[in-house]
Symmetry: C2
DNA sequence: CATTTAAATGAATAAGCATTCATTCATAAT
DNA sequence: ATTATGAATGAATGCTTATTCATTTAAATG
């Protein structure tokens, strides 16, 4: 029996809640100050708790940051899986739903985008970050590939190379996030979505109805 | 008269060279360790010089980093302007040349890409970084817009909304950089270029020759 | 209520780092 | 050859920050 399993429900719940609370505080601080200027004290403060609290729940700063990245990765995945599930059983509709989900209020939130870019910025030199970032893409592109293959078959599209199209869509999706994050002003989630839908219209001209 | 302008030509040249040397050392260190773990000592060491050298030439770390970002921004701009200049006087060819230039050895070098993402990751909370990053895009998108407008007119393409297409192309370009930087392996400059060219083929089907 | 156990605090510690500046080295001027 | 000036050094300084841990607070148990 692990020590945790002896705990009473209330306290066990508290531990999970506190961890999430601290992760969310970390997200806030990273968005506000950047990864470089985020200190343990900032995170603790943003959570309304005391100095040592992060070490108590995460042992180290490194660990907190890893868990933070993991957290937004899972939230991201949950979001798009959900979008596919809720979409009608039609490949064009599903494609639209999947890609629109990237510009949800929940995941394309400025704070979350700031966190993604903060970690991408360090990913090259941090194997842990890199791995998590890669995982995000592999899962996503598998699902995307399936849907597109089905659409190509159904729509009798010739001359479309699926792997390249998938890379292209994902690249555009990430690049639009950058634009939302950094553009002088006025470029928001809706604009990003519109740009992506126009891309899909160009590639799948017989299914434009699904993308408007 | 500023103190620097009193200097003898040789000395002024030496100063410029040293600054460039330090900026390049900064790029190396950022690529190797990330922005967060790059210290003044690392930069000095990478340049084969002593502790205080960066403060001597740049006053502060902040300043060095700003200048480093500026440096790659100018290098980037020079690269694509050059590509357009060298391209034949044909809008499709120019479009191809402009976009291919993003995957040059010089600018799509892994170290440079690491630097771009490092700064993008901090741009939200650092007005100076943000501004420089914005400038990069505004100049680029102006030129891109001109070329595309000409191509649309010449090729009698209807139903293409230039602003959205421009946003889309730039987004994809940046996203492909991310893919080069982070992908597990095997995704390189040539792949990125191919993906982009396929996009252009979809949008401008009557000019595919220029994109292959 | 008394006792046990876990959670939280925050002052103290120690390591890391940017910056300073007195000193040394190299080069140009006379 | 001597002097003057700029460039470079690197040890010392002082600040910031992650981590530790003795102590306090709160909750659950019997």
């Amino acid at each position: 029996m692990t020590p945790t399993s002896n705990l009473q429900p209330k306290r066990r719940a508290a531990k999970v809640i506190r961890r999430r609370q601290l992760i969310e505080a970390a997200i806030k601080s990273i968005a506000k100050r950047g990864l470089g200027d985020t200190t343990m004290a900032h995170v603790a403060q943003a959570a309304g708790l005391s100095q040592g609290i992060v070490n108590l729940h995460f042992d180290s700063k490194d660990n907190l940051l890893n868990e933070t990245l993991n957290y937004i990765r899972h939230e991201y995945e949950e979001n798009w899986r959900n979008a596919i599930d809720k979409a009608p059983n039609d490949s064009a509709q599903q494609l639209a739903a999947l890609l629109r989900s990237d510009y949800n209020k929940k995941v394309a939130d400025i704070q979350k985008l700031a966190v993604w870019f903060a970690f991408w910025g360090e990913a090259k030199s941090r194997p842990t970050y890199k791995k998590i970032c890669q995982e995000r893409v592999t899962d996503y592109s598998q699902s995307l590939t399936k849907i597109i293959d089905r659409l190509i078959k159904e729509g009798e599209y010739k001359y479309i190379k699926t792997p390249q199209l998938v890379e292209g869509i994902i690249a555009m999706a990430d690049g639009l996030w950058l634009n939302i994050l950094i553009s002088a002003q006025g470029f928001g989630r809706q604009n990003a979505e519109a740009v992506m839908m126009q891309y899909l219209c160009h590639v799948f001209p017989n299914h434009q109805a699904a993308f408007n």
